[in-house]
């Protein structure tokens, strides 16, 4: 405000009358209020926004840990026109609107899942005079079922749903199709009734395993042959006898690759056959899977068909899969087991798109489980013994048939079963792995993929990177801070400090780019030089210092105290040049001309070009200014009278520094290191560019790693919103947030304490 304005104000003040003045004053008060409240609101809202970050991350992460829930939608008697026939298969379609049951008298009955109202009842075309003797279901997504017939043949049918949108309304039309033709396929050449059946079908062919004549097990394989000229498909049929004196077969499972056949018998043994060669089937082994006082009451595959789920009469469900042992021999192992209750398990249904399943027992209890996460998500009950379960393809609805002939339709909310404390942080035994491991492998093209969401290798990588960075940065930064704050000439200090602090603002993308594209190849080429540099540098500096000491005083006095750092610059450049130019001769002399090969051949150490050494240097470079600046402040602001006192008592400057100054400043140095660590932990671009980003758990300095931050940067853009993967990545961000926030708060509190202490001194 200028003078003229003031005089204007005065003039108007004199000219105006009382009321005008009062109004003006009121308006000023109002303005003051407005300012007060708007600043208040503005200030608080900015602070709230900052708090919002934490709560938003938490809000996205929390659903991971919710349990599943279900709600009963409808109960109704089994929809059928002839109530006598047993249900052999229940299934729900994708939209949870229509269900189907295939009955023992070869009918496919489609009905409304919510009401039980029959939509279509189709009698399957059985040959004349033939009856149904067995039944088998195909693997989930193909919706295939097969009937084994009394004349040694089998009929394959598929339930199919077509979507259409007449009048913008979704309409689902169910139908039954016959992928291998309406005629039944001949399975047994001798026409014996099929009493047990298992089959799988894919683009290459169909395999059917049938128990005929009471104890003979045969494999019939139809290999598809497409002729180039015609559209017609013909089959080449082979029949092989697998075994001809089987005592009892309770369950038969054939996997979708049509390579493995598992038989469970009444003595609780599972036999594993290798049927990859359709003409020479081999029994691999036969092992007991339950104790003699219990019975196997249910058996099915987990999705992906690599694991068996075996339910027993005491309410246990165990997961088994084939693992190769040390002699490269395959064997089934019990990997984990779950308990539902203490009644016999009567039905198990696997989820089609996840590694979860539902099991139900004789008491009518059912439970949701997830194998990888080892989670029991939910237990509920339908009240009566359960006969069969159908889980919808999306796993969000199910249909249960109890043994007294009623159907129960339930809705399921089970969004993130894959995540548990153990699946995130502990070793997990994944399918087809030899042993429990920490693995991060979040996505794959296939639907049957078992997501491996262990954060441990990422946290390990983060800490490894931070460790090597600190190893490089802490000594350099703190010793540098000591010299700059305590010994350096003020004039030089005024130049040195800003230039090192400017380094802090250097974009890390540039450091990462230099580290990845210039430094990493350079290190690979000059490995002996880099290591000899670390060795020669201190010795060289000491030698020079001693030499300096021996110079005549006249020459020494040319350089004032506190300029040592300046005269050392050319010395260090010389030493560096010397040891780096020694690199190639050293390599030739000690490591046969190729250090990299020497490392892997003689030492058994693998060498990645982009490794922890490179990251350590680059990220160390990025945190040096942070640590330097804070530590230097802490040392510099130690009250001068403390050190003067010590010096006056006869201590050397070095003694004063170690015993007085550093001791007083140590909390400040500690907080500098903490803040530096926080920065190293969260650094993204350098790690992204200077490491190979492979999530390995190897502490070797010559190996890369994948850190939490880099992992987020790589995977978040590709993850589907609100999927488990997305939320787990948010969890990783939350972990980073909390970690750095904690360290920084600690450092900040220490620093504030220190400041108070100084001011009281």
């Amino acid at each position: 405000m200028s003078d003229s304005q003031l005089s204007n104000n005065n003039a108007s003040l004199f000219e105006t009358l009382g009321p005008e003045l009062a109004r003006r004053r009121r308006w000023r008060v109002v303005k003051d209020y407005i300012a007060k409240y708007s600043v208040g609101i503005g200030g608080v809202s900015v602070i709230l926004t900052i708090v919002l970050i934490f709560f938003y991350l938490l809000y996205v992460v929390l659903p991971l840990f919710y349990s599943a829930s279900t709600e009963s939608v409808a109960d109704y008697p089994v929809p059928a026109n002839d109530p006598g026939a047993n249900t052999r298969l229940l299934a729900l379609e994708e939209q949870n609107e229509i269900a189907v049951r295939f009955t023992a008298d070869a009918r496919g009955v489609f009905f409304q899942a919510t009401s039980g109202e029959i939509i279509n009842d189709i009698a399957l075309p059985l040959p004349k005079g033939v009856s149904v003797t067995s039944f088998a279901r195909g693997n989930g997504p193909t919706d295939l079922v097969a009937y084994g017939l009394s004349d040694g043949r089998a009929l394959l049918v598929k339930h199919k749903y077509t979507l259409s949108y007449p009048n913008d309304q979704r309409l689902i039309t169910p139908s039954i199709v016959y992928p291998l033709g309406k005629d039944a396929i001949e399975v047994d050449d001798y026409g014996r009734p099929i009493t047990q059946l298992a089959f799988r079908d894919d683009e290459e062919g169909t395999s059917l395993v049938a128990l005929v004549g009471g104890n003979e097990l045969i494999l019939t394989h139809l290999a598809k042959e497409e002729s180039l000229l015609e559209d017609e498909i013909s089959f080449e049929r082979t029949v092989t006898t697998i075994a001809d004196n089987l005592k009892s077969v309770k369950f038969m499972l054939l996997d979708k690759e049509q390579r493995n056949l598992y038989l469970a018998d009444a003595e609780n043994n599972v036999s594993h056959y290798d049927i990859s060669d359709k003409q020479a089937v081999e029994l691999l082994y036969r092992i007991p899977v339950a104790k003699s006082n219990v019975r196997i009451t249910a058996m099915t595959f987990l999705s992906g068909e690599l694991s068996l789920l075996i339910g027993t009469s005491v309410g246990q469900i165990s997961q088994w899969f084939v693992v190769k042992d040390h002699f490269n021999k395959q064997k089934l192992y019990q990997v984990r087991s779950f308990e539902l209750g203490d009644s016999a398990i009567t039905a198990i249904a696997q989820e089609q798109r996840r590694k979860g399943f539902v099991a139900a027992d004789e008491r009518g209890d059912f439970g949701f489980f997830h194998t990888t996460a080892e989670r029991k998500l939910l237990i509920a009950s339908v009240g009566k013994a359960v006969a069969d379960i159908a889980l919808s393809p999306r796993g969000n609805a199910m249909l249960i048939q109890d043994q007294s002939g009623n159907l129960h339709f339930w809705k399921i909310h089970n969004e993130h079963p894959e995540v548990s404390w153990s699946s995130l942080w502990s070793k997990v035994w994944y399918e087809s792995y030899e042993e429990p491991q920490y693995v991060w492998q979040s996505s794959s093209a296939s639907n049957d993929f078992e997501p491996k969401l262990s954060l441990t290798p990422l946290v390990f990588g983060t800490l490894k990177g931070a460790f090597y960075a600190m190893l490089f940065a802490v000594p350099l930064a703190i010793l540098g801070a000591i010299y700059t704050a305590y010994f350096m000439a003020p004039k030089m200090r005024r130049m040195v400090k800003p230039s090192i602090e400017t380094m802090e603002a250097l974009p890390t993308v540039i450091l990462g780019f230099l580290a990845g594209l210039w430094f990493a190849p350079y290190v690979e080429d000059n490995l002996p030089g880099i290591f000899s540099l670390l060795l020669i540098m201190p010795i060289g500096v000491l030698l020079f210092a001693y030499g300096w000491q021996c110079l005549p005083r006249r020459i020494r006095q040319l350089v004032p105290d506190g300029w040592f750092a300046a005269i050392l610059v050319p010395v260090i450049i010389l030493i560096a040049w010397f040891s780096l130019s020694m690199s190639h001769p050293l390599e030739l002399w000690l490591f046969d001309g190729d250090t990299r090969r020497w490392l892997s051949v003689s030492m058994g150490i693998d060498f990645d070009q982009r490794n922890a050494l490179v990251v350590g240097f680059a990220m160390g470079f990025a945190v040096i200014p942070t640590i330097f600046s804070i530590a230097e402040d802490a040392i510099f602001s130690v009250p001068k009278h403390l050190s003067f006192g010590s010096l006056a008592l006869g201590a050397t400057p070095w003694q004063t520094l170690v015993h007085v100054v550093l001791l007083t400043a140590s909390p400040g140095i500690f907080s500098a290191v903490m803040i530096g660590l926080g920065r190293a932990v969260g650094e993204t671009m350098i790690v992204l560019m200077a490491t190979g980003n492979t999530p390995v758990m190897d502490f070797s300095v010559f190996q890369g790693m994948r850190t939490l931050a880099a992992n987020i940067a790589v995977e978040v853009p590709e993850s589907e919103v609100d999927s488990t993967h997305y939320r787990v990545l948010f969890l990783a961000a939350l972990v980073l947030f909390l970690f750095t926030f904690l360290f920084n708060t600690l450092a900040e509190i220490v620093r504030q304490r220190l400041r108070e202490k100084y001011s009281s001194l």
């Binding site: 300012a35 503005g42 970050i53 974009p507 001769p585 931050a709 987020i712 926030f741």
Partner: protein, 551 residues
């Protein structure tokens, strides 16, 4: 004596001094490295013709720029199958840029120095920058116009320059039509489509309304057709001339002038010509768009995107940061709570930037953006308008990332203002708001400036969060153009920092792109160092000013 020396602690002082020297060497070495590599890229390199014996023993002729030399252990070369004469422990090898990627498949190769029989620098070697396939190196022979040879021999150089400038002129026109006029028409058509969809959604799709839209569309279509004919004519015109040249191994190739960007004879250039060339290249670098998957050409869109994003961010971060600081320092009761808030704000500056990126993506893009789309841009569905990463969300995310910087700096400035000034103002009868507005804030303004500059410096160098909330490797259009409403906050943009990452690490031809990455890095470093130094200068100036006041 040695013992006394150790006892005195001198050696340790020297050791600490050496760490300072090492840090300084690292800082300046790094900046020097970037500067040298970044600036030398634009200098025209001489073309050398080598007679070389290949590994197989065959003789070959290579024309190339020498990019790098290094010494390799003889062992390694012998392992790789080279027959070497002599028994040196080390041999030199050179990295050559042989260009002609369309013919040889690769434009870089290593050769062993010892196997070079002869080298020369023929004056008539030409280097041609092309729109695709990288550089061409060879000997020009003749120029054909519509299949007829017009000139050959020495006269080619002059004629080529003349005809190339004509083609480049036509190209400028084409570019103007394609990007400017046709771009505007396409934009208008898209807006018409959205308008129609909007009308349908609102139930206003009456015959009259629809007809109006149809008329406008027909109008655009007519304009478009006219331009299209003009473009076709222009394109035909560019294809008139063709250069016939031979490459090192004698093969004859034809290069249409339409495919050329720049032609020069590096071995013939004088120093002043080279300087002119250098300046032209630097200008191209900062003013042109990228070519060939970002490995050639300039970085103008990236500069523009960076500046634009930082500007939008500053507009948002300054008022909020200042208000928060004023609240904390002037209005809030000083107690445990404000202390906690201060610690929290301080710490937020240390939270990894990627966490802000994740927050920005989840909250701004998917939550806010998704809701904005549902409310206001229903006609564009299912294509997202704001529900996808873009420049607005990037700026907002970086604003949150940098707001602690502004708060801390402003608070520091406010705390430095002597109490007596506030009290004086209040004593004269000013209200608190008036005191704040007329005395305190103006005095704190340099501190606010410092905070803002630091925030900008940090934002300009930050890449990790942007990768999640809006940066792309190649944006089809700038966020600011001549189409209504001029500023397109929903668009994605290019960014210098991301450009470095993308070209350096995601590029198919890293070797060719590397010098350009150094140049981009240099540009970014320069911007940030200048910003930081100015912040430091302002801070120092400010301290001096208040020191005087306090006395």
């Amino acid at each position: 004596m040695m013992r006394d020396w150790f006892k005195s602690g001198q050696p340790w002082i020297w050791m600490t001094a050496s760490t300072v020297s090492v840090s300084l060497i690292l800082v300046f070495g790094l900046i020097l490295l970037i500067a040298v590599r970044g600036m030398s890229h634009f200098w025209p390199k001489e073309l050398v013709e080598f007679s070389y014996t290949e590994r197989s023993g065959q003789a070959s002729t290579l024309v190339a720029e020498v990019h790098d030399t290094e010494s390799v252990a003889a062992e390694r070369l012998r392992d790789a199958g080279f027959k070497l004469t002599g028994d040196q422990a080390f041999y030199t090898r050179m990295l050559l840029k042989t260009g002609n990627r369309d013919i040889g498949g690769q434009d870089f190769r290593w050769i062993v120095d010892q196997r070079v029989l002869q080298r020369s620098r023929p004056e008539n070697l030409v280097a041609i920058e092309r729109r695709e396939w990288g550089n061409f190196y060879g000997y020009p022979q003749s120029i054909k116009e519509k299949g007829q040879v017009i000139v050959d021999g020495e006269a080619v150089a002059l004629e080529l320059a003349k005809r190339l400038s004509r083609v480049l002129d036509i190209y400028k026109q084409i570019h103007k039509v394609e990007k400017g006029t046709i771009g505007a028409i396409n934009y208008g058509m898209e807006r018409l489509r959205l308008k129609q969809r909007r009308l349908e959604l609102d139930g206003d799709d009456t015959a009259a309304n629809l007809q109006m839209i149809e008329q406008q569309r027909a109008h655009y279509q007519r304009e478009y057709n006219a331009l299209q004919t003009k473009l076709t004519a222009l394109y035909d015109d560019t294809n008139r001339d063709v250069l016939i040249a031979t490459i090192a191994n004698g093969q004859v190739v034809e290069i249409p002038l339409a495919k050329m960007v720049r032609v020069y004879y590096p071995n013939r250039m004088s120093l002043s010509e080279k300087t002119g060339f250098y300046i032209a290249k630097v200008w191209e670098f900062v003013s042109d768009g990228p070519r060939e998957a970002n490995t050639e050409g300039g970085v103008f869109p990236a500069i523009f995107g960076t500046v634009m994003m930082v500007l939008i961010m500053s507009v948002m971060v300054t008022p909020f940061g200042v208000v928060a600081a004023v609240y904390l320092r002037e209005y809030a009761k000083q107690g445990v709570l404000t202390r906690i808030i201060r610690i929290a704000v301080n710490n937020l500056a240390g939270v990894p930037s990627i966490v802000y990126g994740v927050f920005g993506l989840g909250f701004f893009v998917y939550f806010l953006g998704g809701n904005i789309d549902a409310l206001f841009y229903a006609e564009a569905a299912p294509a997202p308008t704001f529900g996808t990463p873009g420049i607005l969300w990037s700026s907002l995310t970086l604003a949150i990332l940098t707001v602690p910087v502004v708060i801390v700096a402003t608070e520091e400035g406010l705390s430095r203002i002597p109490k007596s000034i506030r009290e004086g103002s209040l004593a004269l009868g000013a209200t608190k708001a008036e005191t704040l507005w007329r005395t305190v804030l103006p005095m704190a303004s340099p501190a606010i400036m410092t905070g803002l500059i630091l925030a900008i410096a940090r934002a300009a160098g930050e890449v990790a969060p942007l990768m999640l909330v809006g940066v792309v490797k190649l944006a089809p259009s700038l966020p600011l153009d001549t189409n209504m409403p001029y500023l397109h906050l929903d668009r994605k943009f290019m960014h210098l920092g991301f450009h470095i990452y993308d070209v350096g690490f995601q590029s198919p031809n890293v070797e060719a792109a590397r010098p350009l990455v150094y140049a981009t890095a240099l540009l970014l470093v320069a911007v940030i160092v200048v910003l930081n130094l100015s912040a430091i200068a302002i801070r120092n100036h400010l301290r001096e000013k208040y020191r005087a006041l306090e006395q």
